[in-house]
Amino acid sequence: MTLADVPPGSRARIDTLDGLSASRCHQLQAYGLAPGRWVKVVQQSPVTVIRVEHLDLAFESDIARGINVEAEADRDRPVRRRPRWV
């Protein structure tokens, strides 16, 4: 699955950044989106916002679709109900 498929509030581990140009890949890795790192998806619309370390990074869904991830296994994730509007 890609980063674009991760629901807001969930974590995912970066697998590869194969779908992106080399220079884009270089830029994102400099921000910390490197294979093996965990990120948290904050929102997916109107653009994708993720948190890596303590940094919020926004990028277009096209870029999110170029990043392959492994989602956090459901059983590892604490069940948390959030109010729908936040």
């Binding site: 080399a22 220079s23 884009r24 890949c25 270089h26 830029q27 994102l28 890795q29 400099a30 921000y31 910390g32 490197a34 093996g36 904050v42 929102q43 619309s45 109107p46 653009v47 916002v49 370390e53 303590h54 940094l55 919020d56 990074l57 926004a58 990028f59 277009e60 096209d62 870029i63 509007w85 936040v86």
Partner: protein, 658 residues
Amino acid sequence: VSSCHSSPGLELESRQGSIALFGHPNVGKSVLFQRLTGRYVMVSNYPGTTVELSRGAARFMADTAVVDTPGIVALPPRTEDEQIALRMLLDEPVRAIVQVGDGKNLRRSLLLSVQLAEMGLPMVLALNMMDEAEARGVSIDDRLLAERLDFPVVPTVATRGTGVKSLVGEVKSARVPRFRLIYPEVIEEGLAELASLLPESALDPRALTLLWLSGDETTEAWVVERVDEETLRGLASGRERTASEFREPISAVIQRVHLAYVDALVADVVRETGDKSAGIAAKLGRLTTHRLWAWPILAAILYGTYWFVGVFGAGRLVGWIEGSLFGKIVNPWVTEWVHRLVPIGFVSDFLVGKYGLWTMGMTYALALVLPIVTTFFLVFSLLEDSGYLPRLSVVTNRLFSALGLNGKAALPMVLGLGCVTMATLTTRILESKRERLLAILMLSLAVPCSAQLGVVLGMLGGISLVATLIWGGVVLGVLLSVGALAARLIPGERTALVLELPPLRLPVISNVVVKTTARLEWYLKEVVPLFLAGTALLFALDKTGALPALIDAMKPVVSGWLGLPAAASTAFIVGFLRRDFGATGLFVMQQHGQLTPQQAVVAMVTITLFIPCVASVFMIARERGVRTAVAITALIFPLAFLVGGALHWTLLAIGWGA
């Protein structure tokens, strides 16, 4: 916005070289620069505030300059502002690099540290914003970190001055770190082979060769200036040979080595005790980019700005200052004294006549525009320091896509609402030449700067909200249609948005006040002389009898096509110098009941579409070349009159505001 004036010509150079502040965008380099030099530079809470080098004399070291550089995400650089930072390292003798790092994002900071450490220059790492790191439960073993990297690491909180003293101590005794990473064998061979071919630089040959192998444009340009063709061919083929051994770019291979090293290092020196930061700021931050909630928040901010600048500033404040203070007390008094002291009609006319330096130039600048820009700069500084501005990029990304840009362009556009000239400089943060050109065109055509916006809001707000909306709608319509058209005509592809969002912070009042004051100082220095020059021009034209002739010559356009009184021509004439000066003239005409609501709207739309000011044309020429500046100017003025006339005839047809 920062300021339009150039920095005082501080040509500080010394044999030992300067101290260069390096680091990611928005980590506090400029705050630290202030601490180290006592010189004020603009500080805000968004990446891209600094797009030029700033220099100041070090407080703590004789004959040494401190240089503040634009933030850099990674080497090789992607954008023009980043290239400026790297170019500085290649061109100038550097006594020490002070990397400013973000304590709460240590991985990212160290990824740049290892690249800088290899440069072969004395280095110190200031781990800044340690207060935010602590609040988020990040604790760093800075001693172990310093030991492993072989350069000093100093925790700092630049905004409070914490740690600055020990930083200074470390900078004074800084030395070249013995830090070297081992790359895959093929790259090591390439390094050994090519290092001797490259010209000598201030950097370690190995670091320069790494940049060359990564295919960095800045290094390439620097090398091309210094070697003969044969050497260049040798260098290029050496790079190709190394590259052919890998399936991915060399820069990716190098970066992987850095990532692996940093990951291992961070695992040893950082302890995360859990994020305690999910406070109100974080929640509010999320709402500002939320797909639904973002809109009411934006609307509230826009309305608040409209009220404070348009209704309060341009309405009430100007009413008091211009109407009561200048109109009834200051100007009658000045006029009387000038007439009494200088009984020569020509001279007193020049000072206090119809086109008098005081009664027109200074009154416009001080009584009409100054109160408006003061309120605007206040709101603007608050927004800047809150960290809200980059979030606009998220909200407006789709809109800018239609213009061939991405949401990152929102930043120069919004800064253009402060000062278009300065915003033109900020287009350096955009990634491609095409985007920078498109953004500059939009800025010059349809983004009103603070003085212009204030006058427009004051004038049209006085008529009705509908008048303001017509003006806004037409200007936005022109922006969108010309932008969409230009995006199709100018070749090249759109790039996708990638932008870091700074945390929302409560603005520090002292910084807001200092910043607003700095901008007002800029305003007085930059704008008042042009207002006076414009007034003197009108005076000269009037006295030589050329003004009536000019007004007559412009009559077919101004009266015939735009449907305005002939006297409005004078506003358009000075509008070529600074459009807000022209707009102020129209404002005064309206105050005297010389314009109908329809004429006011038409006149304001026309002059808003003018080139902002002479200074902005020079800035375009400097950034994008004279040809671009001429082309943009030649496009904009006719277009402004075309749109203004079309609006006049449309409003006439539907019978609005006659």
